[in-house]
Amino acid sequence: MNLSMKWLADYVDVGHISPRQFAEAMTMSGSKVEGWELEGSEIRNVVVGKLLSVVPHPDSDHLVVCQVDVGNGEPIQIVTGAQNVKAGDIVPVALHDSDLPGGKHIKKGKLRGVESNGMLCSLSELGLTAHDFPYAIEDGIFVLEEPDVQLGQDIQSAIGLNDTCVEFEITSNRPDCLSVTGLAREAAATFDVPLNLPVPEVKHTVDDIHDLLSVEVKAPDLCPRYVARMVKNIKIEPSPRWMRERLRACGVRPINNIVDITNYVMLEYGQPMHAFDHKYVAGQKIVVRRANAGEQLETLDGVVRSLTPDMLVIADMEKPSAVAGVMGGEYSGINDNTNMIVFESACFNGPSIRVTAKKLGMRTESSGRFEKQLDPATCIPAVERACQLVELLGAGEVVGGMIDVDHSDHTERRVPFEPDWMNRFLGIELSREEMVRILEKIGCKVEGDVVIPPSFRGDLEHKADISEEIARFYGYDKIPSTAIRGTANGAYTEAQKFERSIDQILQAQGLYEISTYSFISPKYYDKIRLPQESPYRNCVVISNPLGEDTSVMRTTTVPSMLETLSRNYNNRNKSAALYEIGTVYLPQPGKELPDERPLVTVGMYGGGCDFFSLKGILETLLNGLRVNGWEMEACTDHPTFHPGRCAKITVDGEFLGMIGEVHPSVCENYEIGGRVYVAYLDEQVMLAHVAAETGYHPLPKFPASTRDLALICDESLPVAAIEKAIRQAVGNILEQLSLFDVYQGSQIAAGKKSVAYSLTLRAADRTLTDEEADAAVKRVLKALKPLDVELRS
């Protein structure tokens, strides 16, 4: 909402307050000011001048040389290229060293050898259009037809370009403040100055509306009130300058006197008005009804709209002429042949207007106001004001009488008035009298322990709402700042601590955390080669996505990771090692909401990393988190991964995650040239298998024995099987088992590999004898026999 300060001054005197103070105080009382603009403030040193003579330029056939009287005795010479000026014209003159809108600076100079001491200005050079001054032409010098201008007078005051426009951000609960009178009321309460709102009156009327028109409201639920007045012998012409100025200051383009009056009243009272030509009202009867199924209407913007029965239309005996509260029809509007008009000032059901405007895809100034639910009581003063303005402008003759079809609820709202409760709620100590004074300033009545809000304050329903009014005008800044009473224990939950440990362990290993979108394209499932029948393709689908790329909620985090790695690769980053704790959204049969599961996803390329770098990171993570009993086993059939470099991770038989080198075809899909490694782990499964914290293990008192074993086995035998057998065979004296060499080559038979382990053996209660250690090695060799593992000779 843009407010003209000149207009505001009609109702409240805030002339002694600077725009900055005004903006700050209004913001602090709840009407947020986004900014303000001093009209014409970009213009400097531009004055009214009179052309004394206009003669052709000696060296140019498109320039003329003018002698201009700018009110200081000596005429000045200005050269111009404009063709529409003649001696005697009054024009805006930008003098030497003057400023124009858009940072344009004017200095004297020579044009084709003739001295020019400034510039004659057009409308657009002053930041105006022909809508502001309909008598002037767009492409030429602005020849003033304003009465009472002085030569040498600043152009701003001469043409009324000196208003201050204040831009407000009005919240959706205060449609009453989308108006000059509403803001005047707030300003009066804010600055504690009187509010002067005259009741509009029409002095002279002809005929009676009831002889010319009738109104029937068939859908009173959607139209609580419909008020109409008429004007005859309409004279369509531009509206006067003061009205055009005010409309311009509020950001509305002047059109003609009748249209301008409806806009003026809407801005002044917050009540959208509609004016239509009486001769197009078939049967001289307005019918307010639901649209018929299949009914169509061509709206003012030239679009044919298909209407549905939940939409309200303004119709006559034959056809609809407007979508109620949204937009008028193409054929009912005012034109130059209009003689008699009907002013409609109505109140519609807000939600219904909102649905209609949304369905038809046309949010208008009018629908934007109606949908916030306007006050039925404003209909009458608004239409009266419109008629008063018709009279004032001499735009026609007001027809006597008024049609008022009123189904609105006139019951007063009564809200409990509890000063003690409000003081406790706000944490202040304000007297009852002070509260009453505040409430009366904004139009409330207080009767005993009841507040009766004015009809235009539909937002005041509860004592909490009344408290806000008290707080606003007492001053939010005067409410003290206190600490919450009582103590509370702020702490992370176990799951939150667990997640923090994941961050710490992964970051300690050099990984950068990433953050990716939770929605992806269904095509990404193809990119990671997910089979068509994969259950992961069943996902939560957004019905109104921005685009396909963000149209489904992900069921896997792998595409997000690969996309990030790909972006880094294609940005020529040599290496990347990343992780994300990101959610997947798995639809649950029979439930409305999906299962939201956090997954830990790790991905890397470059920097010499390989499968075992990634595996090492996971090992450190799982061991650091004390996840108990996890295992990895080769997985050859996961379509996203290299069939020979992929493992499934389980814990106690439960699926925990995957790790692998990404399949070359997938890398190709993501335009990554090198090898990429990705793993993911289910956070909740990990958390469910965290071992209890164990006590401290005493440091060993007895020495350890070590035995190294070089073994030969089939190259396809996973070392995990060997290790498992060794651990079982040695028993609890095995302190540490470490693999220190794997070898294949000329020293070893084809199809075989050599695997070398170092065993650290130790007993807690004695020094192990060589015999005991050797016996353990014998047990190991025996246990390895069935696996075809032998000691390397």
Binding site: T27, V355, A464, I484, Q509
Partner: protein, 340 residues
Amino acid sequence: MLLEDLQNIEKQAAQALESAADPKALDDLRVKYLGKKGELTAILKQMGSLSAEERPKVGAFANEVRAAIENLIEQRSNALKAQMQEKKLAEEKLDVTLPGKAAPLGKSHPLNKVLDEIKEIFLGMGFSISEGPEVELDYYNFEALNIPKNHPARDTQDTFYIPDNVLLRTQTSPVQIRTMEKQRPPIRVIAPGRVYRSDAVDATHSPLFHQIEGLVVDKGVTMADLKGTLEMFVKRLYGEDSVVRFRPHHFPFTEPSAELDVQCFACHGEGCRLCKGEGWIEILGCGMVHPKVLSICGVDPEEYSGFAFGLGLERIVMRRYNIDDLRLFFENDVRFLGQF
């Protein structure tokens, strides 16, 4: 006679030691003079020929000479060690300006880095951290927050719908409702999380961003408590000298409602480019929980009151690091991530 010999040995040994250049030479000298077949031993062997009177004298003198030579050897040995160490140290000189061998250091995403800081502040004020689903029922996201269907407040939050009654939450406020349904007062929680609005991606808009919700409900919670709590938060986050103002606003689920601004750090309220000339920067929305919302959650508004607040994480992080493009957060270029 023997005494003279002993004196000579000491002299010779002293001379010889002075020129001993390495531990080997030193050891040879030790053997030569003090060894079992050394010169001193040879002299001592002749002691049998001495008279009983002379023997103790010569014996004592011989011991003195031995001690003196041993002392000289040790001195020389120490000197040699020191020399050699000095030489070694000189040889081992490094160009200390060569780069270090760094273990790679991982990083938190900047959003989480600042979020962690915010969590710590609230934990310190006795808040716990709560969570709620991102795919949410219309009821929790709107209806229970006093935003019925076709309420104009829905317009400011362009919503992604699944079917009609399920949506991607547009705010973290539904966690307020879920928390009150689960837990009786006193309640003191924050709920950080992802929220979704149908905004096309550009430098300042993203269809996905993060909010942090806060909720306090107890007997006798006042608007003054709201002010005190949030002022403390802002001062912890932005510094004790931050200037804060609360200005009336409207949210359907709080009454009274407010927005909290901090005075612009760059211009201190004068108005500049950073604050778009306003002198203040909007940080969060807040208010006293609407009694209707308390009732919906089964909390008696006559017995309890509370306040709630919500702030956007991205804007706070962008201002902290002067980041001018929101997209950088979700592009995750390592050159960006490595800076935090």
